[in-house]
């Protein structure tokens, strides 16, 4: 197991390098000069040259990549062209808010998804099973940005129960764990939870079905265990996989929150990406994507390691 874990960690390094390379390349696949958005239209050639040197665009590509990665390793992702602030501080402020939203959504999605999936798998072929399957198809088919709009229409514009924009009443990005702020979290978190809910329900349903078909369950029944006893056995056996799927879903939500953040004007990384894209602020775009992708890779690693530790039976190759 130790060897597997070591191999798994070492295997992550080239992936991280590849991710960095791709993020670095983003600036260079972009059409036009990356300096265009900060230069005045009538900038002199000398000024252009000065800025090119200042941002390091005058060096060769491998040199630029080396320099960029070296700085990134030291927590320096450059300066936002639009705001002039350091990219890393902008990203970290936003990541917190995105994390709150995605974690809340994952939790809601997991609770209800696991419940639906479990009941569906336990009573396979029943009406509840068909209903749960339908719900999970809807969960993965619904355009979540539209669902967000519909929820905003119902609960905000029509019933006026909940706020539909921002993370706090004063429009600030500062989060606090009180009811005034939590009210702002409810609609976006529920909207976002639909995605993991469908996937977790599907996974748990399949898992429970598989486990119930195992011989040891027949053995348990033969030993005269009650429904509850068997239920607990099944629960214990499907927990590691279900948790792993939940961990991965958190990663997908962190990286994919931009659409929902746009709908609800949530001040997270999605909002940051949006402004980076429309102000052509490439260092900010690059930095945000890099941080989110590395989060995802790290989360994958953690999930794999935890799963191996929790359930050493799982065969790895």
């Amino acid at each position: 197991m130790i060897f597997y874990l070591l191999r798994r960690i070492i295997y992550t390094l080239p992936i991280m390098l590849g991710v960095a390379l791709l993020c670095f390349a983003l600036v260079h696949i972009a059409p036009g000069d990356p300096l265009v958005s900060i230069l005045p239209a009538d900038a002199s050639v000398e000024l252009q040259q000065q800025l090119r040197v200042a941002y390091g665009f005058d060096k060769s590509l491998p040199e630029q990549f080396g320099l960029w990665s070296w700085r990134a390793l030291h927590g320096d992702l450059g300066t936002s062209i639009a705001s002039g602030r350091s990219v890393i501080s902008e990203v970290f402020n936003a990541v917190g808010n995105t994390l709150i939203l995605s974690a809340a959504a994952t939790l809601i999605g997991f609770l209800f998804g696991a419940l639906f999936g479990f009941v569906a798998g336990y009573f396979r072929g029943s009406r509840i099973d068909r209903l749960a399957s339908l719900l999970s198809v809807i969960g993965v088919s619904v355009p979540h940005y539209w669902l967000g709009m519909v929820l905003a229409i119902i609960f905000s514009s029509q019933l006026m129960w909940l706020p539909a924009t921002g993370a706090s009443p004063d429009g600030g990005a500062q989060w606090a764990w009180d009811w005034v702020h939590m009210r702002h979290l409810i609609l976006p978190a529920i909207t976002m939870s639909v995605i993991p809910m469908g996937i977790i329900a599907r996974t748990v349903r399949a898992l429970v079905g598989d486990i119930l078909a195992q011989e040891y369950v027949v053995g348990l029944q033969a030993r005269g265990l009650t429904h509850l006893g068997i239920f607990l056995h099944v629960l214990k056996n499907c927990a590691p996989t279900a948790m792993a799927v939940m961990g991965l879903q958190l990663g997908y939500l962190l990286g994919g929150s931009i659409l929902i953040e746009t709908v609800f004007a949530w001040p997270g990384t999605g909002f940051l990406l949006n402004s980076a894209i429309f102000q052509r602020d490439l260092p900010l775009l690059q930095g945000t994507i890099l941080v989110l992708a590395l989060f995802f890779v790290a989360l994958n690693l953690i999930v794999d390691v935890l799963q191996t530790v929790l359930d050493p039976r799982i065969e790895r190759n």
């Binding site: 198809v137 619904v142 355009p143 994919g256 709908v263 775009l285």
Partner: protein, 297 residues
Amino acid sequence: MTSASATPTYTIDSAPQRSPGYWKGVLTRLARDRLAIAAGVVVLALVLMAVFAPLLTPADPFLASMLKRLRPIGSAGFPLGSDELGRDMLSRLILGARLSLFMGLAPVLLAFFVGSAIGVLAGYAGGLVNTAVMRSIDVLYAFPSVLLAIALSGALGAGIVNSLISLTIVFVPQIARVAEAVTTQVRRSDYVEAARASGAGALTIVRVHVLGNVLGPIFVYTTSLISVSMILASGLSFLGLGVKPPEPEWGLMLNTLRTAIYSQPWIAALPGAMIFITSISFNLLSDGIRSAMEVKQ
């Protein structure tokens, strides 16, 4: 997010024994699946609507009128109301099917060709080539789909072509992984060994034995990506990264109508309902095809 949690691993039990009656069997089984048939009918209707859109639109989808902005559903001359520029919603939804379906289907189709080619090549070559190709693919896999799509089209800039390129790049690794897995299985099978022993060249083996057996599973997997692609493509337009105004596209319409959720909420929700109907129909149809083909997952 919308992408599946993990790559499904497909296994083929005894692929080469597919008699000519195989596809007939698939069709018979599909015909018995009422939900899949219903979904298929909806998909067909949407495609027909897109093809014959100019004949079906009751009004000019581009004709704006400041006086007739945001007319409610069912008002005279506007069966589904009018949008924020006073254009007929029904006509725009009908014409919108063209770009919306195209933007959702084209990347999956492109990725099907590119991804299968890469995956089959890597799977058949094995060894170093396989490692090199598949490890590079893993890098793209290290991004959540939405993030990768937005990173690429954000850097490339808004536009139909850039959005197509970005989404194709998102789906290529997913299809390539499945293609590589099934090809590796087929390559190790006895009948490929037998073909090689009887003197068949690499090209013949790939064409006859490999492609004949791997395209089915790859195709089934690809159809399951269409609904994700529809949601992502419209999502890019929703963010302002895909189709540009004044072209009608459901995601873009949803975006421009966002300001109307307090005045005409149900008109604002209409384009999203179209995306939802399309996406769920493709999903149900794909599920039906998968169980009819009995590709074991």
